[in-house]
């Protein structure tokens, strides 16, 4: 089951660049939430603040509160602990190149010291099934390297890898933007099925995609969150004029 995310007064900087300004929002549990906005508006930075990946950059800084499932992830936990509970799928598929498919999926567990072979086998199978990749690779789990798959398959592999550690939240930073339409729709189906088990936050450039998979949508502009509401409202009757301009394609 997923958990909800409460963000209060979040500000983020890259060096002197004030990337996120005073973000407040509540992401509901077990739903998919989409974040839309033009390039460079801070949506990626925002999700990276949710699993504390933002601070891996030496000039990055964050202030504010993020509560995931009630836990203050900055004050009461360490980054490593958080990242085991909040999974991430990146824009470009990034399987570990020297590892087999099996090892890729199991990486999050094996590298954290888990070694029970039988259970690992089950988890790998379950994760690959959940990411709709099982049927295509089940015969070559240990023989094929993660990097030898097609782009869409690689991304599903990355999703399986993220699911294998049983996170409560799944962050997806434009997961389908580097993929062809067929793979994209497969991934959207996946998100649709997964959201009942996890809380999903998906950053997307594609408004239609947001409308297809997410119940709630947030619109980001220039580091601020302009509007956060149900997807239907955002797309049919936005409250803010800027949202309306973006939706209708006047910019971005």
């Amino acid at each position: 089951m997923g958990v909800s995310i409460e963000v209060t007064n979040l500000n983020a900087w890259y060096g002197t660049n004030h990337t996120l300004q005073d973000i407040d929002l509540n992401i509901p549990a077990n739903h998919a939430t989409a974040l839309i906005g033009p390039s460079g508006c801070g949506k990626s930075t925002f999700v990276r603040c949710l699993n504390r990946m933002h601070e891996t950059n030496p000039i990055a800084r964050v202030t504010g509160t993020v509560l995931i499932g009630g836990l203050d992830i900055y004050a009461d936990a360490k980054p490593v602990e958080i990242r085991r509970r909040v999974g991430m799928v990146f824009q470009r598929p990034n399987p570990f190149p020297t590892m087999s498919i099996y090892d890729n999926v199991a990486a999050g567990l094996k590298l954290n010291g888990y070694s029970n072979r039988k259970v690992l086998d089950e988890i790998v199978e379950k994760s690959l099934k959940n990411s709709a990749l099982w049927e295509e690779v089940k015969d070559e789990l240990k023989k094929k390297s993660g990097a030898s798959l097609s782009g869409g398959q690689q991304q599903r592999l990355c999703i399986a890898r993220a699911l294998a550690v049983d996170p409560e939240v799944l962050l997806m930073d434009e997961p389908a933007s580097a993929l062809d339409p067929v793979s994209t729709s497969k991934i959207e189906d996946l998100i649709f099925q997964l959201k009942s088990q996890y809380t999903i936050v998906i950053v997307t450039h594609n408004m239609q995609q947001a409308a297809r998979v997410a119940e709630k949508t947030g619109f980001f502009l220039n580091g601020r969150m302009v509007e956060f509401d149900s997807t239907h409202k955002i797309f049919t009757n936005p409250s803010d004029k800027r949202t309306e301009d973006y939706i209708t394609g006047r910019f971005g």
């Binding site: 602990e81 085991r84 567990l109």
Partner: protein
């Protein structure tokens, strides 16, 4: 007012319009509806390995600092061991010589009477290195220009490979070859010819029939530094952006003019760096030089005369140094060599870096 078309939705209307739970009813950290899976429990118990991270980081830092440690180590050891000679001769070591009362000639390196002067070795090092540069640099640049700008594609890789291979041959093997082939060649053919044609310059005297000497060592040094100067020059030439080449060509230049104005001019700082790096290598080259320079601590004008270099005399005399002062003098030579090569190499690296802009260049 419908602003945008709401696209075809796959899930039914009621699902879409459902308002998600309000923040006031957020679930607890550990979801109550379903027990956390075994995996989740396992991972939650793993801790944050802050100690392991910190320890690992410090270990890596320490090992990286060992580079500084090595420099400090060498410096302190050499300085320590040079103290005796420094106390005995001071700065005179580097520019004064003791005049032998019997012959009236300067006696530079006299273990018997404990008079030591570095002059012949400074001279020998300088002469052999400069000779090497004189012979090697034009050829190296020519090769670099050919390989970078003129070479047909299929030849480039094999030729580059050969150059790299020859850079890897150990000094002692070059020395062995020089003793077996080069020295007889010099003795029988080259030296007599030089004496006959250029003896009037005073640089090619007749009194050393062995085939050893400054010129021979200069030649073998040239052969040894060719690969490094050439490959570094190639590297800085390749670092010149194509746009520079194209700009010159677009003005109607011939290929040579393009190379001269578009490439060499831009790369000249780096090429100077490559040359200085070659100089650095020549200064410190030990084994091959020790085998062909004749090992005579004399300063002679003739290039065909025997001489010695700083590194060669250390290699030859260290193991059998006759006194503590002797050893200390050798150590002081080593210290001088250390400082000189560091300065030369640092300067050269800076020049090359300026052209390739700090991208980690290949290790030479």
């Amino acid at each position: 007012m419908v602003i945008a078309q709401v696209p075809e939705i796959r899930f039914n209307q009621s699902q879409l319009l459902t308002e998600p739970d309000l923040p006031g009813e957020r679930p607890s950290a550990q979801p109550a509806q379903q027990e956390a899976s075994a995996i989740r429990t396992f991972l939650l118990a793993r801790g944050n390995s802050a100690w392991a991270d910190r320890g690992f980081r410090w270990l890596m830092v320490l090992c990286a600092l060992s580079i500084f440690g090595i420099v400090v180590l060498i410096a302190t050891e050499l300085v320590e061991r040079s103290k005796l000679a420094w106390g005995a001769f001071g700065l005179d070591f580097f520019y004064k010589a003791y005049i032998d009362t019997f012959t009236g000639k300067p006696m530079y390196w006299d273990p018997v009477n404990s008079h030591f002067s570095a002059l012949p070795f400074l001279y020998g090092t300088l002469v052999s290195s400069l000779l090497a540069l004189l012979l090697a640099v034009p050829l190296a640049i020519g090769v670099a220009v050919f390989l970078t700008e003129m070479c047909p594609g299929f030849l480039r890789a094999p030729l580059a490979f050969i150059t790299e291979l020859l850079a890897a041959i150990p000094s002692v093997i070059y020395g062995f070859w020089a003793v077996s082939v080069l020295v007889p060649l010099m003795k029988i053919y080259v030296n007599p010819a030089l004496i006959k044609t250029l003896g009037w310059t005073g640089l090619f005297a007749d009194d050393n029939p062995t085939g050893l000497g400054f010129l021979t060592s200069g030649i073998i040094l040239a052969i040894m530094i060719l690969p490094i100067v050439s490959s570094l020059t190639r590297e800085v030439m390749t670092a010149v952006p194509t746009s520079q080449r194209e700009a010159v060509l677009a003005l109607g230049a011939t290929r040579w003019e393009m190379i001269r104005m578009g490439v060499l001019r831009n790369a000249r700082i780096g090429i100077v760096g490559a040359i200085i790096l070659g100089l650095g290598r020549a200064l410190g080259e030990t084994m091959a030089v020790a085998m062909v320079i004749g090992n005579s601590p004399e300063i002679q004008r003739s290039l065909l005369a025997n001489g010695s270099t700083m590194s060669a005399v250390i290699a030859n005399e260290f193991a059998e140094a006759s006194s503590d002062l002797h050893l200390s003098a050798l150590m002081e030579l080593g210290l001088a060599l250390f400082i000189v090569t560091i300065i030369v190499n640092a300067f050269a690296r800076m020049l090359v870096w300026m052209v390739t802009r700090g991208t980690p260049s290949s290790v030479h």
